[in-house]
């Protein structure tokens, strides 16, 4: 009887301990990455390759996401604003919404889907085919060689992608504004410029850097923790995308609270 009563508590305790252990492992991993960031050797070629893979090749998906989001945002704000005769706020709200929130968050999530999965699958496959062990036997630290270049590249590349996404999203809103909502092009652009503040853009770029760090860290962490075989790599890939996405949304809330709460 007592056992039956205690079973749910034991289960809860086990779950809590496992969750805490996972957080601990991730924290140790992040600590190792940060430690290697400041200690030579540095692998410049791997960093440039990662920059290309994460930054340049993610531009189409971020751009497509931004242009459609900006367009849809313009339509929504126009329809919503019409209820209290505030259609004229479309350019400024599109710009603020894109730069502060939608650009970084949607861009971050799209990059997470594309990059965290790819990193986890690549490193996971390297692990199950003993390439990680081979690196170690060749006197090369796997964290320094595989993880640090990707984390640094993503932390630098995602803000640039966010900036590009912001511009493309605002352009999407402008396109819809002048073709569907009868805005004058010059007026639309003037309203956008007049109401947009530097910190609107800057806060989004800071978010982008944090999201980039999260994306690469989760991709690398789950790749390094990958189990054996195709199933192990598949599970690592899924965990990387899910955890990166959830952490991006959580970090977005915390950063928004930090930057804009009154």
């Amino acid at each position: 009887m007592t056992d039956a009563l205690l079973a749910p508590l034991a289960s809860l305790g086990r779950g809590t301990l496992m969750a805490l252990a996972a957080v601990g492992r991730l924290a140790i991993f992040a600590g190792q990455v940060l430690g290697h960031l400041v200690r030579p050797p540095f692998y410049g070629r791997e960093f440039l390759l990662a920059l290309l893979q994460i930054g340049w090749f993610s531009l189409p998906v971020v751009g497509m996401t931004a242009v459609f989001t900006g367009g849809a945002l313009a339509l929504q704000i126009y329809a919503g604003g019409a209820r209290f005769s505030a259609e004229s706020v479309v350019p400024s709200i599109v710009a603020i919404g894109m730069t502060r929130e939608l650009g970084p968050v949607l861009g971050g999530l799209m990059v997470a889907a594309r990059v965290a999965s790819s990193i986890a699958a690549e490193i996971g496959t390297m692990k199950v085919t003993e390439q990680i062990d081979a690196l170690t036997t060749l006197s090369t630290n796997p964290v320094k060689y595989l993880v640090v270049p990707r984390v640094v590249a993503a932390t630098l590349a995602v803000p640039v992608l966010v900036a590009a996404g912001d511009s493309i999203g605002i352009m999407g809103g402008w396109l819809v504004g002048i073709t569907r909502l009868d805005f004058n092009s010059a007026t639309y652009l003037k309203n956008t410029a007049d109401f947009l503040e530097a910190w609107d853009v800057g806060s989004g770029l800071v978010k982008g850097a944090v999201f980039g760090f999260i994306i690469a860290l989760m991709g690398c962490y789950h790749g390094m923790q990958s189990g054996r075989g195709a199933q192990g790599v598949g599970a690592a890939t899924k965990s990387a995308v899910v955890s990166a996405s959830v952490l991006i949304l959580a970090a977005n809330y915390l950063l928004t609270e930090m930057f804009f709460s009154t």
Binding site: P41, D133, T137, L138, S139
Partner: protein, 248 residues
């Protein structure tokens, strides 16, 4: 000289190594035989600092092995992995010259490439292979590239993990001969783990059988066939009947 004393390693409830004692003299080629899952690869990984043993002591030339292994310790080793473990994203020559392109053994790129091509030639591959990627090579060629990478920095100790697994008998013979030639030529200490008795006979100076987490038998290759040890006899003759359970 590699000396292993009382090495224990357990994964969960599976006690893989339960007190392994073994020593390999400088310049000796030791082959470790034993069934699948008996811990042969774990033993090599413990020596290389890739797996932390629970108990026991490993020394290489009197220096204790650590986890992770120091760069100076690893610089003495070369390893041929079972599946080759070539880096997919790098062309063959950069795989072979990996150690020579970074770290304290770093050489100018042209020199590293020339060494890689020479090592490829040593394992029977032409310079035309140098710019291919591992995925473009057959299994036998991948093993040869892995072998070239293992010897590229001229290590004093070379480990071979199942060097002939997955190869046809002719290619397996070629790899066995290459390993023997290279080990003799370099004067290196070699440890090989294999199930392949033709490899054992081609490569070994001495043989150790790992079973039940301990070294069951060890001795010179010449004495392997005549030992009365029933475990060794069952293994080398591939008999289903005997003290080693067929289903493990």
């Amino acid at each position: 000289m590699i000396r292993i004393e009382g090495l224990h390693k357990t994964f969960g409830s599976n006690a893989v190594l339960q007190g392994v004692d073994l020593s390999v003299a400088r310049g000796e080629s030791l082959v470790i035989i034993g069934g699948s899952g008996t811990g042969k690869s774990v033993l090599l990984k413990c020596i290389l600092g890739l797996v932390r043993p629970d108990r026991g002591r490993i020394t290489v030339d009197g220096q204790p092995a650590t986890v992770p292994a120091s760069e100076a310790m690893l610089a003495q080793f070369g390893m041929l992995f079972q599946g080759g473990a070539l880096f997919d994203s790098l062309p063959v020559w950069q795989n072979v010259a990996f150690r020579l392109l970074r770290g304290h053994l770093k050489r100018p790129r042209d020199e590293a490439r020339a060494i890689a091509i020479e090592k490829l030639r040593r394992v029977g591959l032409g310079p035309n292979v140098a710019d291919l990627f591992p995925a473009e090579l057959s299994g036998g060629m991948q093993k040869r590239v892995g072998l070239a990478r293992a010897i590229a920095a001229e290590p004093q100790i070379i480990f071979f993990d199942e060097p002939t697994t997955g190869l046809d008998p002719i290619m397996a013979g070629v790899i066995n001969d290459l390993i023997r030639e290279i080990v003799v030529e370099m004067g290196a200490t070699a440890m090989t783990i294999t199930h392949d008795m033709s490899s054992v006979r081609a490569i070994a100076d001495s043989v150790a059988m790992l079973h039940g987490g301990v070294i069951r038998w060890t001795g010179p290759i010449d004495e392997m066939d005549s030992t009365p040890d029933p475990y060794v006899q069952q293994f080398i003759h591939g008999r289903a009947e005997g003290p080693i359970a067929a289903i493990r």
